[in-house]
Symmetry: C2
Amino acid sequence: MVKYPSGSLAAFRKPIKKKENSTRRPYTHRKGVNFSDRGMTLEQQINESNKYYLTEGIAVVHKKPTPIQIVKVDYPKRSKAVIRKAYFRQASTTDYNGVYKGYYLDFEAKETRNKTNFPLKNFHEHQIFHLSACLKQKGICFTIIRFASLERYFVTPASFVINAWREKDKSSMTLKEIVDNSYEIKSGFRPTLPYLKAVDKFIADRER
Amino acid sequence: MVKYPSGSLAAFRKPIKKKENSTRRPYTHRKGVNFSDRGMTLEQQINESNKYYLTEGIAVVHKKPTPIQIVKVDYPKRSKAVIRKAYFRQASTTDYNGVYKGYYLDFEAKETRNKTNFPLKNFHEHQIFHLSACLKQKGICFTIIRFASLERYFVTPASFVINAWREKDKSSMTLKEIVDNSYEIKSGFRPTLPYLKAVDKFIADRER
């Protein structure tokens, strides 16, 4: 039997000494303000959620770095390397993937200020292709769509988005279509965006 | 029932016309030369293999881009954006992950010119931590180690590497330890490095 390590970084790190006699001013805020998303972008909300899921040992999901073609790097004396010339490259996957209870997760996050529909041109061919390929390998694939003006968040199965994207003469998914085919989540505190609730639902649906 | 798309990019792309009347010279090579790895680095061998697995619809595995902190970007007129100042950031994961038959795969690739042992300092704390966290989520986690001077390749379960790394006063894994605890693979043609053979073995062991 293989002994799996606990996954806690605590085993590797020296204990951090707490600063004593902190003089930080107590924090007060205006009443009626919604702090659940605090002006964060969707990407920040997802990154915060992933950090929470990782720290709590619930899931391991990371955003992939932006792919860059490096052309020129300087190595100044006594300081770290500086990239002096580089280009953005076309990604070949979605932005997020990871593992949760043995399941492979793969998703793309998108937001719109529209109130009634989500334009399909927001999805790029390589994202649709990648989601299709991962579905074929039995990954759990979805999109997180934020209607910013409505403050509504939907976790939509990739199969639905792919079919809509491939449909001729279809330029957007209506809010109603998204409501009917998604799991809606509310932004909160811990985690900021509890998208794994939707994933639990997808897993239950699959195993039914 | 949701219809899963085929995952083939062919459905999206225009057919490519073949150039006719090619005048390319027939290729000949010296006898006795080993073409199975053709001087490729381990990274190139894995990337080639991933491309093959993707094209054949066998698995979806990608190398993660190097994380970069972008400081300054120029947008020259009539040409694409140029990054003029950026720094390398510390990665928080391993280099490769993906999905195969519903399983989450996560691995790191390392090579050495040593002939008798593999120095553990080649593994960084964040890689060990990430592999531990993914194991806890029931991912299939491993390392691909190449002994370059011996032209031998080993797929070693992450649990073994993590335990060795955590052992006090242990600075390397001996070749014998690696042989005893790994699945050895041979470099070939399609794919260049058939590491999924080892993954099949890990899956069979797990389900036994």
